[in-house]
């Protein structure tokens, strides 16, 4: 009997593993970004040379759903690992897949210096405003007033600081050739995110320089919301602070 995945395989090709048991929670925004990544790799025909460097956190699972080589780096260090890898093996396509905790908390220096070096690698930050895997603690990107496991009365910027705007920190770096913030809050946003991802990947394929995208995604489990509520929150609260935009596009 024909399996449902056979039909899907013809649609998605070889990159996406459709039979792999999914470990993202229901409604998790990672599922959408991971699919977009797989589709982009498939569409560009770069699967066999692609290496994913993943962070610690739920984003670390992303490579399990793709038929690509992967390196699970130490917490926050993926951009440095990718830098060393790309220098030693420029013929490979290398991207990092990290959450907001991995990238904007412990790994911010690694990211910014990788960006500033301007090497042709691609870094993706999946921002759901919480440490999801460890139980919904505050992250540097948690919104003012956001209740988390470690900010029971809501994030107070006077104590915890303000949500960090990561791509904006790279605006003055000439080595960054593609820089964007996208969201997966609804279908049009996901379509835009897919196009943006293609640009960011092509930036590396054309050997132009560093590319970065922040994806604003919901984490129903970490946010303690239903799936629908979390998407609503993503669309209305998160993107109000983290405004989607293509900041730099020098890929032409």
């Amino acid at each position: 009997m024909e399996k449902a995945s056979d039909n899907l395989s013809s649609l998605y090709g070889k990159t996406l593993f459709l039979d792999k048991l999914f470990s993202y929670c229901p409604g998790c925004g990672h599922g959408i970004v991971t699919r977009l990544v797989a589709e982009t790799i498939e569409a560009m025909g770069i699967r066999e040379k692609t290496v994913s460097v993943v962070g610690i956190g739920c984003g670390g699972f992303s490579h399990h759903y793709m038929d690509i080589d992967a390196i699970e780096a130490m917490h926050g260090r993926s951009p440095s690992v990718a830098t060393g890898f790309k220098l030693a093996s420029p013929e490979n396509f290398v991207f990092t897949y990290q959450g907001d905790g991995d990238m904007s908390a412990i790994g911010l220096a690694d990211l910014l210096h990788a960006a500033n070096k301007g090497l042709p690698i691609t870094c993706l930050m999946i921002n759901n405003t919480v440490f999801g895997m460890t139980g919904g603690q505050m992250s540097p990107t948690s919104l003012p007033g956001q209740v988390t496991a470690t900010t029971q009365k809501g994030r107070d910027p006077h104590i915890h600081g303000y949500p960090i705007l990561v791509p904006e920190m790279m605006l003055a770096m000439p080595g960054v050739k593609y820089l964007a913030r996208e969201s997966v809050a609804d279908a049009p946003a996901i379509r835009r995110a897919g196009k943006s991802l293609r640009r960011a990947f092509e930036c590396q394929e054309k050997n132009l320089g560093f590319a970065f995208i922040e994806f604003i995604v919901p984490c129903p489990t970490g946010l303690k919301k239903s799936v629908l509520e979390s998407y609503d929150w993503c669309k209305n609260q998160m993107t109000a602070y983290f405004k989607p935009a293509v900041f730099i596009d020098q890929t032409e």
């Binding site: 699967r47 699970e72 440095s80 830098t83 060393g84 220098l87 210096h113």
Partner: protein, 356 residues
């Protein structure tokens, strides 16, 4: 190009030797007394089609080195105490992930920022592992420019044979010394090793591979650790390195590595020529520690003197190796204008033990 004698600072000798033996990527961050390695390699590596990459911290250094190793290429780094401490998490990672690389700890006085004068205070950190988990890295201790040159091919072979970081520890006094070393013609020892069976360079020639030093199940973690344990046992059995001399009839055994090993070599010969019953063991691999060297100590041995540029670290391993067979004494020092025991001081202590 036949063999060639160069007069270099030993940090430069390290750089020259590693590049001649196949290192093409050197990741580093400036720190005294290791900075000359990167200065020299930045000049030398382009001639070999490689690069020195100055990173932004030792965290970034160690992780870029890990990335380089994931591509199956031989990378190296060079640092000193504080930098070494920052790299520990990634050294644990590389040991767990079985990634080969060369590292240099040009040791200086600690703790904390410490002092830039040379020391051997990182023996524990090097041999016990300053990072987390049940892991070991191979540690080699050259005692001169020439032994850096001679041990470099050994280091590259060990790194790839056992897929492990290989750490060279050199006291900062030796590292900053300028001396003559004779180099063989360049030979890329890393090229002898086929990395295609494990490197992470895309699924073109192999099914999906991924590097995981964590675990998704407790049994997975157990299996990883068992595999590492078995490997470490083999290394312990096969890779002990040392130099010994005059053990026969010795009543006093001198033990030292690095610069003190070199001084003990001279002192032992000097004392033997004056009919003193002295022998010596110079550990060259600090991990695995050369336990086997101590298996053949003579029955008439009365005392063992361990000399280190610290407050007594390797002496623990000497005691374990001796297992109570002889009283063990210590002479050491860390820091100061002359941050080590002089030959005269070691000689005086040796004579005291011989006469006592």
């Amino acid at each position: 190009m036949p063999e060639e004698t160069l007069f270099l600072k030993n940090t430069e000798t390290f750089a020259e030797a590693m590049v001649r033996c196949g290192v093409r990527y050197h990741f580093a961050y400036p720190i005294t007394p290791a900075s000359d390695v990167m200065k020299y390699s930045a000049m030398l590596l382009p001639q070999y089609g490689g690069r020195m990459i100055q990173m932004e911290s030792e965290l970034a250094v160690a992780n870029a080195l890990a990335g380089c190793a994931c591509a199956g290429k031989l990378g190296a780094t060079s640092t000193s105490g504080p930098g070494m401490s920052l790299m520990q998490e990634t050294i644990s990672f590389m040991a767990g992930a079985e990634l080969p690389c060369l590292m240099l700890d040009s040791m200086r006085v600690g703790p904390g920022d410490g002092d830039i004068i040379g020391a051997q205070s990182n023996y524990f950190q090097a041999t016990r592992g300053g990072g987390h988990g049940d892991y070991r890295v191979i540690v080699l201790a050259p005692d001169s420019g020439q032994s850096i040159v001679d041990l470099m091919p050994v280091g590259v072979k060990l790194a790839f044979t056992y897929r492990s970081p290989v750490l060279f520890v050199i006291d900062g006094v030796t590292a900053q010394m300028t001396e003559t070393s004779t180099f063989q013609e360049p030979r890329d020892y890393a090229a002898d090793f086929d990395t295609s069976s494990w490197r992470y360079t895309g699924t073109k020639d192999h099914p999906k591979r991924f590097l995981l030093t964590g675990s998704y199940s407790h049994s997975q973690g157990y299996e990883l650790n068992e595999r590492l344990r078995a490997k470490f046992e083999i290394i312990k059995e096969k890779e002990q390195r040392w130099e010994d001399q005059y053990l026969e009839g010795a009543e006093l055994l001198l033990v030292g590595f690095g610069i003190h090993g070199r001084m003990i070599r001279e002192l032992t010969a000097q004392l033997r020529s004056q009919n003193h019953k002295v022998g010596r063991i110079n550990p060259i691999s600090l991990w695995p520690f050369p336990d086997k060297a101590f298996e053949k100590i003579p029955s008439g041995l009365k005392n063992v003197l361990v000399v280190e540029m610290n407050h007594g670290q390797m002496i623990d391993d000497v005691r374990l190796a001796l297992n109570g067979r002889a009283p063990t004494h210590f002479l050491g020092k860390t820091g100061g204008d002359t941050p080590l025991r002089t030959l005269a001081e070691i000689r005086a202590k040796a004579l005291e033990l011989l006469e006592g």
